[in-house]
Symmetry: C2
Subunit: 304 residues, 2 copies
């Protein structure tokens, strides 16, 4: 069993109503692999940084036993930087700046040993690059992909091609609405399944997540967090927990996809409690399983 | 066991993106009792209409075996009329007109035989009137109350007095956010419990509902409806199903409150499928229990 993660690695500058952090470790591949590594080791990471990428972050990733053979360090260039500011309720956010730097010319070349990866998680990058990754992979057992509004608006044709090749398409509620042209999320999910991916997960923040296939549906509550600190990376943490669980169990049944959604929600709930990967740095199995148990408790009922 | 409903009875003019209906039967007491009557009979209704109130609507309520001893028919006056228009997604709505008519001077006098009611549902009316109802009731087993943004803005002091006397306070997500000053619904629920009501239910539309006490929480998904026809009355239908179930079972345990939330969600899911009470006119027990079963199926999972 092997899990490959392809996505961005960034230095984020984040402003929330309560706090601000400058050039902290971020990026979709960072959050995904930081969570997936609790389920499978080593996670294989493909991404790019500049030569200014701090050694402490490399050390962190290595300490997580994340395999960095696929990490490109571009000499003389700078790492991708993103700056964002959240509104007072931590729900909406404005992008303050995007400096692509080395990421602008990122060509996701998959090292030969990685091409046999059983599980592939395509973090939110240009759907053209996601396709390019898939063209290099041989016979994966499951491919999961994420996206964002930016690509739905700007590269819809390529995105539609990419999602046809996914086993599981993960997107947020607002992205699902934008892509389907439908506000109602049940209807949006049905429409997106018709676009190709047999399984769709719609992330709904504090309302949890919706797992849909053509024939089945599962609604998972979020783990209740009253005081969100920084939502950055929550969707990626979800993807990491989700695919991590499936890769660990190698069980693709709907019953087990349901559990994977719960693990996704749990990893997202940790992620939003602190800046960057701070709250997902040092978890143990009990931390994670306790939250799974809590979600089970707060969603179960017995009809008479 | 006896269930008393106090609220508005209205003639609604509703515009949706697909259809329009003029002067159809509406009002909080109408929807609540139309749903509660599937669980307990007779439901006792206290409300007011004018002498123009169509006989067919009186016949409908009578056929539902709703006890109309407490219905005031004000001679020479007109029935409360409300007009609203929904946005293209059926989520937001504008009030086009409000003609209070007989409802403006509504004094909810509770007929002597009703004052011993075990279960009381206070539909969305002026919180001062809700208090006036409670002052007339002797030793109820459970009082459930609803409200709306209008009273949170305009009569907050009276509302805060009223909710201290409720056993269960039911409100929508946006109302909970407004009343608590908090966007996060878990935090909003906690704050509202501190205001007095030991149990709070936050209705979240297609995201289901959140049941909270000081010590426990339950998240219930909505019954999935892809094509909402008219959301009017959904919140009242929820209250009717919720309290109807509790009144029927006379079980106030948290486990049973959870079931009540599911029945509330199911009744709301029927309500929004047609205009007015059209979709909740002729249900049978199986229609209702099938949807309860569906919600159970789509929310259950087994952690390993």
């Amino acid at each position: 069993m092997s899990l490959l993660v392809v996505g961005s690695i960034a230095l984020d500058t984040v402003e929330t109503p309560n706090d601000k952090a400058v050039e902290i470790l971020g990026g979709s591949a960072t959050f995904i692999s930081s969570c997936a590594r609790y389920f499978v080791q080593p996670v294989r990471l493909v991404g790019i940084v500049g030569s200014d990428f701090p050694q402490e972050h490399l050390d962190y990733l290595k300490n997580c036993r994340i395999d960095l053979e696929g990490l490109q360090i571009r000499n003389g260039e700078k790492t991708f930087r993103w700056g964002g500011k959240y509104d007072e309720h931590l729900s909406g956010r404005d992008t303050l700046f995007t400096e692509l730097n080395a990421f602008e010319t990122f060509d996701p070349v998959i090292p030969e040993p990685y091409r046999q990866s059983d599980y592939v998680c395509l973090g939110n990058i240009d759907p053209g690059l996601q396709l390019r990754v898939l063209d290099q992979i041989r016979g994966p057992k499951m491919v999961v992909g994420d996206t964002m509004n930016f690509w739905i608006k700007g590269k819809k044709d390529e995105l539609l091609k990419t999602i046809k090749r996914l086993d599981v398409f993960i997107l947020s509620d607002s992205e699902a609405q934008m892509l389907s042209g439908t506000k109602n999320l049940f209807a949006a999910g049905s429409k997106i399944i018709e676009m190709g991916p047999p399984t769709v997960v719609i992330k709904k923040g504090e309302h949890g997540a919706l797992l849909m296939t053509k024939d089945a549906m599962f609604t998972a509550p979020a783990y209740p967090i009253e005081a969100v600190y920084d939502p950055t990376g929550a969707g990626d943490a979800f993807a990491g927990g989700f695919l991590g669980w499936i890769a660990k169990t190698r069980d693709h049944s709907f019953e087990n996809l349901k559990r994977a959604v719960i693990y996704g929600n749990v990893m997202a709930s940790f992620c939003i409690e602190k800046f960057s990967v701070d709250a997902i740095r040092n978890l143990d199995e009990t931390d994670i399983s306790e939250r799974v148990k809590t979600i089970h408790e707060l969603s179960k009922f017995e009809p008479v």
